[in-house]
Amino acid sequence: MVPYIIRRLLIAIPVLFGVTIVNFIIINMAPGNPVDMYVDPNTSQELLNLRKEQLGLNDPLWVQFFHWLGNLVQGNLGYSFSTYEPVSKVILERIGPTFQLTFLALIIGLIIALPIGIISAVKQYSKLDYLATGTSFFGISIPHFFLGLGLIYIFAVQLQWLPAGGMSTLGSEDDFFDKIKHLILPVMVLAVGIAGQYVRYVRASLLEVLGQDYLRTARAKGLKEIVITNKHALKNALIPIITIIGLEIPFLLGGAVITEQVFQWPGMGQLTIQSIMSRDYPTLMALNLLTAFMVLFANLFTDILYSFVDPRIKYK
């Protein structure tokens, strides 16, 4: 097991390196640059050039890349071009809100999806099943921005029960309940999509297991149906779900770009959009690196987890 993990980690290094090179090239190929954002009518070309020089933007691309890489190796992600704060600080500030939002949504989505998925599989082709699969289809296909704006209209504008956006009310940043109130709508939007997806995964996966021979044996032994589904079938049916959750984690951390925009949630998704708009290269590079890292890490993590849940799998 341990040699396997080490091997996987070593393979990750060249992959990450390749990803950063590709990212760097693409980001720099985009027209415009951070200094173009400075332009006001009275700034002369010479002054702009000087600023470019100071930011190192006049160097050849490969020099810029290795400069960035050199800093990275020393643990320095550089400074944001738009706020001048250290990039690590900017990202750390954003990762918390995103984490709160997306993990809560994932948990609530699963809480909704698991029972519905199970019922729908056990009572296949019943009215309940059609209702569940139909609703889940709605959950998957409704666009986040539409659902978000709809919820804002109903709960924030018409009923005025919940705030329309943001993370907290001005002046009550530490109020726990205030935070929860702000979380409800965006979490709801994300959870609906997640639940819709997982109802279908759980249903399909459980159906496959339910038809297997060992369950027929269990039934022959005279076990109750509820014990058969919950104890014998569900455990095996959940294995593929773990993979899907594992693969989802990096995207959860990347931030729910659209939901964060709609609800002005100061998370990673919003940061990404802002950095693109202002051509904030160091922040963009760090965000990309983080996502790439999370993908690799989550893959490894799921693989390891698998070997614990499924004794048939062994890594050498």
Binding site: A30, P31, G32, N33, P34, D36, M37, Y38, V39, D40, P41, N42, T43, S44, Q45, E46, L47, L48, L50, R51, Q54, Y79, S82, T83, Y84, E85, P86, I111, P115, A156, V157, L159, Q160, W161, L162, A164, G165, G166, M167, T169, L170, G171, F177, I180, K181, I184, I226, N230, Q264, P266, Q270, L271, Q274, M277, S278, R279
Partner: protein, 544 residues
């Protein structure tokens, strides 16, 4: 055990529902108590004012604030010498007097009571340090730019190699200093360019590494300031929190807390109605035109009309449209009255040139190009323009009204037989294409320029001369205008400039839209204004 889980789920969802209803309950009670307070006592004052803006605020760095929101918010922390009011008059802030005898030496006295929040007085040492820092090429700052007329600066407003201090800034005593210019200059030119100079504390910053100053914690979150409010919390993308500076030299603020809240334009009206925002800052958070009627109908909010300061214009690439007749044709072909009446609901004025009607140098005698498609067609024929040639119209995304007006204008141009293609870009791309003159027509919003000098827009090689326009006669006039100290002589020069531009049309202005404001009726002092809004921020009062 399984059943236990189901039970837990049920309890959980019931708890959630209860909690939801509990939330709504608290909200109702709090809003009704607010209403009561309003009816009963006028004396009970609130301790918080919330200003709504729509754009994220970049950085409060007093020497490197670049977006309009950041400049304004930084000027609340660091007082500039002057501030403009809504009639474009200069009002003293950190400065107490401004005098000159020969238009070449300008004596400025600082407010005698002005002090930093750490108790030290604001002195001319600080002023000199500020100029030296701004002119230092190693420091990342917005620079002195058009103040390059000060003695001892090069054309870019920077110190020549080897120089450490700006020669033209002379300290007389602790509170008096003199600005020496290379040549006699219009005093209003100096004042107009001083409004964005914010004095920084030299006793805090003088030993810092100039090359790293922009990353210094002080510049990210200033702690020693001299303005009416001090900074508590800065989150540029969501909110900025200020606290009253009790020792402010122009009087302690009457309201303890001041917030700036970043809200998308679409949510601004709703939050004004619910009382989450007291008033907006029109320059970076105007009320959307389609919401103005709604605001006027709100019982607890008052609408405040804006004025025409900034304007939208179209650059015509002079390399594509070499014949002025063709450029005039485009000006005639655009149906601007329709845009103003229908799209902007009359909340705008039509202008042709670089000055709006409010600008002191606006020439009233020049007649606007009227909407005349027949004349446009005739001029196109005369200029021999190949009508099949595609005309690329570059439009930046972000301003909805502008994007809609581009569609109308494209239709107008098609109606006179031209082949137009709209291309939309995000802002950095748009600006880069502009700088490379990679367009035929280019939309851009132009902020109000205090001084009439427009060489950046029309002078050969000027940073905002995206049209690539070059006219030696105009260049000479612009140079003369910049150096002319007498305002009356300057007017003659700039009238001539406007005549030439009107004839040559390297750009055609579309409209100057009135940025709309709204203010809660609870606010007793404090009004949304594009200019001078925060001059009296220390006097702002809001009812509970």
């Amino acid at each position: 055990m399984r059943i236990g889980k189901v039970k837990f789920l049920t309890i959980f969802s019931i708890a959630l529902l209860l909690f939801l209803s509990a939330c709504s309950g608290t909200n109702e009670t709090s809003s009704s108590s607010k209403d009561k307070g309003k009816g009963n006592t006028a004396a009970s004052l609130g301790d918080t004012i919330v200003v709504g803006v729509s754009n994220a605020i970049g950085t409060l760095n007093p020497i490197n604030a670049r977006d309009l929101g950041a400049m304004t918010l930084s000027s609340i922390l660091f007082d500039p010498f002057f501030e403009l009011n809504e009639n474009m008059e200069f009002q003293f802030k950190l400065a107490e007097s401004f005098e000159t005898k020969d238009n070449q030496a300008f004596t400025i006295k600082l407010n005698s009571k002005a002090n930093w929040t750490d108790g030290k007085p604001v002195t001319t040492e600080d002023v000199k340090f500020t100029f030296d820092t701004l002119a230092n090429p190693a420091v990342q700052s917005v620079g002195l730019k058009t103040l390059n007329i000060i003695e001892g600066l090069d054309d870019n407003g920077q110190l020549p190699k080897g120089e450490k201090t700006v020669k033209g800034i002379e300290i007389v005593d602790e509170k008096t200093f003199i600005i020496h210019t290379k040549k006699p200059t219009d005093p209003n030119y100096i004042k107009g360019n001083l409004i964005n100079i914010r004095t920084i504390p030299s006793h805090i910053l003088k030993d810092k590494d100039p090359a790293k100053l922009h990353q210094d914690p002080f510049m990210l979150k200033p702690t020693v300031t001299d303005g009416a409010y001090t900074l508590v919390n800065f989150k540029g993308e969501t909110q900025v929190e200020y606290k009253a500076n009790p020792d402010y030299y122009r009087g302690a603020p009457k309201t303890e807390k001041l917030f700036f809240k970043v809200v998308p334009q679409a949510n601004m009206t709703a939050q004004l109605q619910t009382g989450e925002i007291h008033l907006n800052y029109p320059s970076t958070g105007a009320i959307a035109i389609q919401d103005v009627e709604k605001v006027k109908n709100m019982a607890n909010v008052e609408a405040v009309d804006g004025k025409g300061y900034d304007y939208q214009e179209i650059y015509m690439n002079t390399k594509t449209f070499t014949d002025p007749k063709m450029r005039q044709a485009i000006a005639y072909a655009i149906n601007r009255p329709q845009i103003v009446d229908k799209l902007l609901k009359g909340k705008a004025e039509i202008i042709d040139g670089p000055y709006t009607k409010l600008h002191p140098y606006f020439d009233k005698d020049i007649k606007n190009y009227e909407y005349d498609p027949e004349k446009a067609k005739k001029l196109i024929e005369e200029s021999g323009w190949d009508k099949s040639k595609p005309i690329r119209v570059n439009v930046p995304i972000g301003n909805q009204v502008r994007e809609q007006s581009a569609v109308i204008i494209a239709e107008n141009l098609k109606a006179v037989g031209l082949n137009v293609q709209i291309q939309k870009f995000d802002f950095p791309t748009h600006m880069q294409k502009g700088a490379k003159h990679d367009f035929d027509l280019m939309f851009l919003g132009i902020p109000y320029q205090v001084d009439p000098d427009v060489s950046a827009f029309y002078g050969t090689g000027g940073p905002y001369n995206f049209a690539g326009y070059s006219n030696p006669e105009l260049d000479e006039l612009l140079n003369k205008g910049k150096l002319e100290p007498n305002p009356e002589n300057r007017r003659v020069i700039y009238n001539k400039v406007q005549e030439i531009l009107h004839e040559d049309v390297p750009t055609i202005s579309l409209y100057s839209d009135y940025l709309m404001g709204a203010v809660s009726k609870k606010v007793k002092v404090g009004l949304p204004k594009q200019f001078g809004m925060f001059y009296n921020v220390q006097d702002w009062v809001v009812q509970k």
